[in-house]
């Protein structure tokens, strides 16, 4: 029986190994002897190229990367203040009863399927919020744009930032708060000058994790962000189309590309890039979190 249980647990290792193998097999070195992606497109060209044009064989990752970073950055700008303030409110101000109501509702926000967020961004945020707003200053907002996608992604990860930051804030010892109150601090001083700095690394870890989630987010950007960057170049303007790594992967897999073609293999190269970025962010986040926990034990 113990062996069976061990196999169950070992499956997670197999899964991780499987992901790594699958990504490497098509992009770096093919076990079955086909040409892998980076054997045809040199890695440095992939990593430094600023144009993504598969018709002309240009596979520079920066258009995709800037799109992804743009969405993640906007998502972070939305979710970090919102999530952090919610966390402070929930842990320092809210009565237990309010918390019991608000917390599950916030979690609901995280439970709404991402395809719904994408649809909402496309049908509501862009035409009814962004267009009128930027219309005032005479700027044109595209049907598909990075800003709307970034905003909904930000809202989507706010509960994650909030709940992880709240955990971090809660693990700041009560004695520290009491000491500060005893010195005549106001609640504001205690929250902003004592609790948040003490929980800082935990909060950083929370934000890193949330942003890595934003980077891997797919459907919202597929629907609201667009399917190409302006002219296939870098994505700079958040009011124009973006083409994130995740959108690209969906795009390729839902068009009828043939296995073995360059487009097909590029899917794995982009997947590998995405995987490496999110994995690194996760590892850093966990490392910071562990350091943080050790500090308070």
């Amino acid at each position: 029986m113990q062996q069976v249980l061990f196999l169950c647990a070992g499956l997670s290792i197999v899964t991780m190994a499987g992901i790594v193998f699958v990504l490497l097999n098509e992009s770096v070195y093919s076990v079955l002897g086909d040409q892998a992606f980076f054997q045809e497109i040199p890695l440095w060209k992939f990593l430094t190229g600023t144009r993504w044009h598969w018709d002309s064989g240009e596979f520079g990752v920066w258009p995709l990367l800037t799109s992804t970073l743009q969405v993640a950055l906007i998502g972070g700008l939305v979710s970090v203040p919102l999530g952090l303030c919610s966390a402070i409110y929930l842990s320092e101000y809210a009565t237990p009863r309010t918390r019991r109501v608000i917390k599950p509702t916030l979690e609901l926000l995280a439970g709404v399927p991402t395809v719904v967020y994408g649809y909402f961004a496309l049908m509501f945020v862009t035409p009814y919020v962004l267009r009128p707003l930027f219309g005032l200053v005479g700027l044109e907002v595209g049907t598909f744009n990075g800003l709307a996608a970034g905003i909904v992604v930000g809202i989507m990860i706010t509960p994650l930032v909030a709940s992880l930051s709240e955990d971090a804030i809660r693990s700041v010892p009560q004695s520290l708060r009491e000491a500060a109150y005893a010195l005549g601090s106001t609640r504001f001083d205690v929250s902003v000058r004592v609790v948040v700095p003490a929980a800082f690394s935990g909060i950083v870890a929370a934000c890193l994790l949330a942003i890595s989630r934003a980077i891997g987010e797919t459907m919202a950007v597929v629907i609201a962000g667009g399917q190409n960057t302006p002219g296939g170049g870098l994505a700079i303007n958040p009011l124009r189309e973006v083409f994130t790594m995740t959108s690209y992967i969906v795009n390729v897999s839902s068009s009828d590309v043939e296995a073995g073609s360059m487009e097909y293999k590029s899917l794995y190269a982009v997947g590998l890039t995405l995987f490496v970025i999110t994995l690194l962010m996760n590892i850093v986040s966990q490392w910071v979190m562990r350091r943080f926990r050790e500090a308070y034990q």
């Binding site: 169950c8 399927p113 049908m123 999110t278």
Partner: protein
């Protein structure tokens, strides 16, 4: 320096509290707007026929979600059947058998890394391993070269027919979703198992129970509410997953349910169809929403919203169920 006890040192704090309150409520406000807009848009399209019709690209008013409902149903059943036993087994191993061995530590770290892998990467994994099976069954590929003929599937008793490679079938989707939810289920189960006090285990061992008996008769039943809460929550997450399903080939337009089972009673009256349904083509609720959202005609907005309402209703029901189980067990059990 004698300052008045009535001085107004709290004003700034008030402002800060309001800012925090505002932030909290703005997220909830967003949720309210989202739901209102969707309900408003979808209101005209919700009807019984929306649940019992197939998709329609020519006349939007006839479009319905039947194929997606059944597809999601099959996905959930299979994902549940695959991920729950494996997840519980893994958690039991980690909590009860491998206390602090190096392998357990590696698995544990690996679990939290897996939980952070974007769902679309699981889609790539599913596409390669389950849908295409590395292309080894393709025409002229390794299997054909070795066996001399092209293998297209395995045939078993009762007319069960397993295609090889698995292709864009329900089972490919379910296997992919299972891998996706497994880390979450394992961690939730571990927490539930850990919450069962050690004294209970020792008491059972002292009564002459074996370790396995202790786990089966005491630890698992006591942890079951926690496990089920975690399972339902992660399945409700899985039911809304779209990206990996697109990757593993859920159809964006399909006018059929898996194995043509369209009514619940047919699960019993057509056993042959029931066992073959996992190996049929499918679509799923979020996929249908996605494909409607992409349609240019205005009419499809209402359809997409109606689809979202159905999807979110299913999701909220599952979440409510999880909360109900959690609350009920909290009343029962206090160690």
């Amino acid at each position: 320096m004698s300052s008045s006890l009535y001085s107004n040192s709290q004003t700034r704090g008030r402002w800060f509290e309001y800012v925090c309150l505002l932030a909290t409520w703005s997220a909830l406000f967003f949720l309210a707007v989202l739901l209102t807009v969707i309900l408003w848009q979808g209101r005209g399209n919700l009807s019984m026929s929306f649940l019992s019709n197939f998709d329609d690209r020519l006349s939007p008013e006839k479009a319905g979600m039947l194929a997606g409902l059944w597809g999601s149903f099959w996905l959930m059943i299979l994902t549940f059947l695959i991920s729950v036993p494996v997840g519980i087994g893994a958690a039991i191993y980690l909590e009860e058998y491998s206390t602090d061995s190096w392998i357990a530590r590696i698995i544990q770290v690996n679990l939290s890394n897996l939980a952070g892998v974007p769902s679309i990467v699981y889609g790539i994994l599913g596409l390669t391993v389950f849908v295409r099976m590395f292309g080894i069954f393709a025409k002229g590929a390794i299997i054909e070269r070795m066996t001399g003929n092209q293998v297209e599937g395995l045939f078993f008793a009762f007319g069960l027919n397993v295609p090889l490679p698995l292709g864009t079938t329900v089972i490919s989707g379910a296997l992919t979703l299972s891998l996706l939810v497994l880390p979450v289920i394992i961690v939730a189960t571990q927490e539930a198992v850990r919450a069962v006090p050690g004294s209970i285990r020792h008491a059972a061992l002292a009564l002459g129970a074996t370790k396995w008996q202790t786990i089966v008769t005491l630890v698992l039943p006591a942890a079951m509410p926690g496990i089920m809460t975690g399972v339902i929550l992660s399945l409700s997450r899985a039911i809304g997953e779209t990206a990996p399903l697109i990757m593993v080939g859920a159809s964006t337009f399909l006018r059929a349910t898996p194995a043509d089972i369209e009514y619940p009673h047919e699960l019993v009256t057509k056993p042959r169809a029931t066992i073959n349904a996992p190996f049929d083509e499918y679509t799923a609720m979020p996929i249908m929403v996605y494909s409607w959202a992409k349609q240019a005609q205005r009419e499809y907005q209402g359809i997409a919203s109606a689809g979202i309402i159905v999807l979110v209703t299913v999701l909220l029901t599952m979440n409510g169920l999880a909360i109900y189980i959690r609350n009920r067990s909290q009343q029962h059990l206090r160690w």
